[in-house]
Amino acid sequence: MDISSDEAEDWFMESLNTYKDLHVFQLEHPTKVIEWTGDKCICVAGYTGARSEILELLLPLKLYAGENQGLCAERDFKVQHGGFSEEPVESLIHIPGTRCVVTTGSSSSALQIWDIGGDDSDVIKRTGVINLKSKSSKGSKIAPGLTDEPAVLHGSCISEVQLTEIATGRVLYTVAKESSDSVSGLQFVNACVFLICASNGTLLMGDTRDPSTCHYPLQDSKSGLHWSFGLRSDRSQSEPSCCTVARLSSSGHMLLSDLRDLQSPFCQTQLNVQHSTSKNDFLNVSWAPVLDRCLSVSGFDGTVHIYNTMDWSTEGQNPQPVFSHRGHEMSHEAKYSGSPPVVTTHSWHQSRPKTLLSAATDGSLHVWDWLDKITDR
């Protein structure tokens, strides 16, 4: 679907009413990762082409100017640090409390460890690798450990998931479950409890103090679907009971579960989105860190949809998003890539309630602050 320049113009004009702030950037190479490395910095990395750049970007200062926003003309991203990766970067995570990030490639047999660097140099240097036992063709998924000693939870299929200490390479924990199901995502709920979501939608909950895991397959799993998950945890409490898990399938099916009862999701719904048949796993579901019970979804096309799940009944059908960001489709310039862009990833700002960042296959990177038609007027 080609966007005419009139339609694009209309959308930009409309945006005066629908967005508080809007910034549109063009990266040299598209990214499928946006990872926060500080209050005001993110890391992005290329995934196309043999040699990829990893960049740490400082967000436009205008966003942080507060009352003096008018006096700050600074709307640009600043490249704080940059480095080169020998392989395309599929995932990138930041280890909290450090200047360390870990990356994976699509079929590599190792995790790369990097030091983003401080004030004395702007080069991101590789400081080590974690070699993986298996040489599986599917890339590993990674998640930062939440303990004091930097560690990374990783695995490409469930039986290979392990927790490795970064400094020493020592394996701290291995999942005991025999399963060749491929991992779609994993995340720690607190220092010890973690959750794994398999591509077929199965959830696994484990505890690093105990090798056994609890296994929650889907009630009626349809083959051919790929599932992704998003975990919402209330940061002020580390009790697993305060967590909600959202699972999203490539056909737009959404399941919300409470960590206390992962067997039966408390809400099921079908989003009104195009079925994603792409091999790329751009599917992304994230919970808003500040807004209550809001989540966002992307990866089906060039749009990011925001939903308020409070309105969802236990068996809702086709809920409407409270906001849809169509910026990537609308500001897409054919010269950067022929086909319409697909959003590769998105991320919520950690403290500004309605600010998000999103990236697409055409190399675009947007920062936007949307207006709720009902509450913001």
């Binding site: 930009f12 004009m13 945006s15 005066l16 809007l22 910034h23 549109v24 950037f25 063009q26 990266l27 040299e28 040699r51 750049e53 970007l57 436009p60 003096n68 008018g70 006096l71 700050c72 003309a73 600074e74 709307r75 640009d76 991203f77 600043k78 490249v79 640090h81 940059g82 480095g83 080169f84 004395d120 140099s121 702007d122 080069v123 991101i124 500001s331 990177l365």
Partner: protein
């Protein structure tokens, strides 16, 4: 070894004082002559002591080139040419030549009249300086002197901005000044051909940024104007007439039309006159494509924008006014500002940089109380918005430009080395070229390896090939003889005969004759025969002939035998050879002196 030396002048690493010295092929060129806006003392001028400790600069510089009219690129020009002293040519494009003096005069007025400074250039100095200017056209090669030539390329950025190629013989340097690689509404993107300069010099100021799109900046502008007008407020937009104003007007006009807005938009009369002037300059400057879109709409017939009258400022209700001058330092824009500043519903939008000492600069620094003439204080309650519309190339843009020009080396100025290592690595890896980042005052020397083309005459080539022996091996050098003629900037290798002919000289032949005495009882003829046999056995690889007329010839050497009637056994061997066969001739005479075998 031939080399090119580049020195960015001045102390400190800050942006805001572009002035770069280039030494190439024995010529010295100054690129830009900017003022640092952050200082009030001599630190704002480039450090010319690098060129000479005291005295005028004329004999040390072959020319000065100014890339565009922004003060951080031309602000120190009158100081340099009139107060330090320089009488040589100053090159800049036509629009830059037209706009520079206006900006310099404005700047002078603010600095001297408002701030009361004394060590500053005068109005007359600006005029005298501009008399030395030689205007440039795009893509036109200009001979500064017999050896130095320069050419301007379109840089985008602002009206009249140029990138410049400087060439001496086969060595060249390209300086970008400020440029942008993404086109906007009225200024296209910079363009240069694959000129492959030895060095490409560029600012690094924005090299580590990723620019927000033009559309989003415009959106922000429209949003702010709209919000103010919606709440009944007034918007003041101080503009420098020649530049942003027209673009913002078109933007507002389109917006007003679309949203069906009724609030009046005004354009102060001073602007219209200057805008006409700008328009004429502009139309000759831009390329075909942009010219067409601009000509399609008459720049001064806006449906929603009308000429301003002083009295309108007191009218109630919302309105938008474009007024000069751009930094709120005097005139109409300042008058309107004074009237509107006290109301928080109003807004002032500053579309660009303001020089220290102006009201614009003060309010952009957050000042809420201003001291006016006669000790009156002005409370600044209106909303102040600072927006930057200027077009600069970012990290991606620099890579695009390098791809276009294909330089052999890259040089970045005005950056902090430790904050640019990643960019340096990136450039070096992607293009396999060296990237230099000198600090101000530091000289970078780049060794060039210019090839000198020499034409070789066909005759000479044929002759060399006819010499026989094995064909030349491409991997092994072989000595070749010829004459090099340097004439009219061309070099030719020709045979000596041709050279003599061209020079109108006749060739002289040198021949040596030597007599060797020999005791031999045979007849003259027999002796000669014996000499022939002897030589044949010694000189096996040479061509030796026994000619019936009584001579033996070895290569070009002629041997005859005579004897006198009185002493028939005392033979005299006559050897004669030409200069070229000196070695062989000497050898033969020495050999024959030893006598013949029996």
């Amino acid at each position: 070894m031939p080399d090119i030396k580049i020195t960015p002048l001045g102390a400190g690493q800050d942006v805001g004082r572009s002035c770069i010295l280039v030494s190439i092929g024995g010529k010295n060129i100054m690129l830009d002559c900017g003022m640092h806006m952050g200082y009030n003392d001599d630190r704002r001028f480039p450090d010319f002591s690098y060129i000479t400790q005291n005295g005028r600069l004329t004999e040390f510089l072959d020319c000065v080139i100014i890339s565009h009219f922004h003060l951080d690129h031309c602000g120190a020009l009158p100081y340099m040419s009139e107060m330090v002293g320089y009488d040589g040519p100053i090159y800049m494009t036509h629009p830059t030549k037209a706009i520079c003096p206006i900006l310099l005069e404005d700047f002078r007025k603010i600095t001297v009249d408002k701030k009361g400074e004394t060590n500053f250039f005068t109005s007359q100095m600006i005029k005298d300086c501009m008399k030395k200017v030689v205007p440039l056209n795009l893509h036109q090669t200009v001979q500064v002197d017999e050896e130095l030539e320069i050419k301007a390329y379109y840089a985008g950025h602002v009206l009249g901005a140029a990138m410049v190629q400087i060439k001496v013989g086969l060595e060249s340097v390209v300086y970008t000044g400020d440029y942008n690689m993404t086109p906007d509404r009225h200024l296209g993107a910079a363009w240069i051909d694959k000129c492959r300069p030895d060095i490409l010099i560029s600012e690094s100021t924005y090299a580590t940024t990723i620019r927000d799109s033009k559309r989003c900046r415009e959106r922000d502008f429209l949003k702010k104007v709209h919000e103010t007008v919606e709440r009944g407020g007034k918007v003041l937009i101080p503009v420098f007439a020649l530049g942003r104003a027209q673009e913002l007007c078109i933007l507002l006009e389109t917006f007003w039309e679309r949203m069906n807005l009724k609030a009046p938009i005004y354009f102060s009369t001073g602007l219209t006159e200057k805008a006409n002037h700008y328009y004429k300059l502009f139309i000759t400057w831009t390329n075909q494509k942009i010219r067409k879109t601009f000509v399609q709409r008459n720049m001064f017939e806006f449906k929603h924008i009308k000429a301003f009258d002083r009295s309108y400022a007191d009218n109630p209700g919302p309105m938008v006014v474009f007024a000069t001058p751009g930094m709120l330092h005097a005139g109409q824009s300042l008058q309107i500002f004074k009237k509107w500043a006290g109301n928080e519903k109003n807004m002032v939008i500053m579309p660009g940089y303001c020089v220290q000492g102006t009201v614009g600069h003060k309010i952009l620094n957050g000042q809420k109380k201003l001291e006016m003439e006669g000790r009156a204080t002005l409370d600044v309650k209106l909303q102040v918005e600072y927006m930057s519309f200027s077009a600069h190339a970012d990290a991606k843009g620099i890579m695009q430009l390098i791809r276009m020009a294909e330089p052999r080396n890259m040089l970045l100025v005005h950056g902090e080395a430790k904050k640019m290592e990643f960019l340096k690595d990136k450039i070096e890896q992607e293009f396999s070229i060296s990237c230099y980042m000198p600090a101000n005052g530091e000289t970078t020397t780049i060794v060039t390896n210019p090839s000198v083309p020499v034409d070789i005459s066909l005759n000479l080539l044929k002759r060399e090939m006819a010499l026989g022996g094995p064909l030349p091996d491409a991997k092994r050098p072989r000595t070749m003889h010829g004459t090099l003629i340097m004439k009219d900037n061309s070099l030719r290798l020709v045979s000596p005969e041709q050279a003599l002919k061209e020079l109108g000289l006749s060739e002289h032949q040198l021949r040596f004759t030597c007599r060797v005495q020999l005791h031999d009882p045979h007849s003259d003829t027999d002796t000669l025969g014996r000499i022939y046999t002897h030589l044949k056995s010694v000189l096996k690889s040479y061509s030796i002939q026994h000619v019936p007329d009584g001579t033996v010839i070895v290569e070009s050497i002629v041997i005859k035998v005579t004897s006198s009637a009185e002493e028939p056994n005392l033979k005299v061997i006559l050897l004669s050879w030409s200069y070229q066969d000196e070695e062989l001739g000497s050898f033969l005479s020495t050999l024959l002196k030893k006598g013949l075998p029996s």
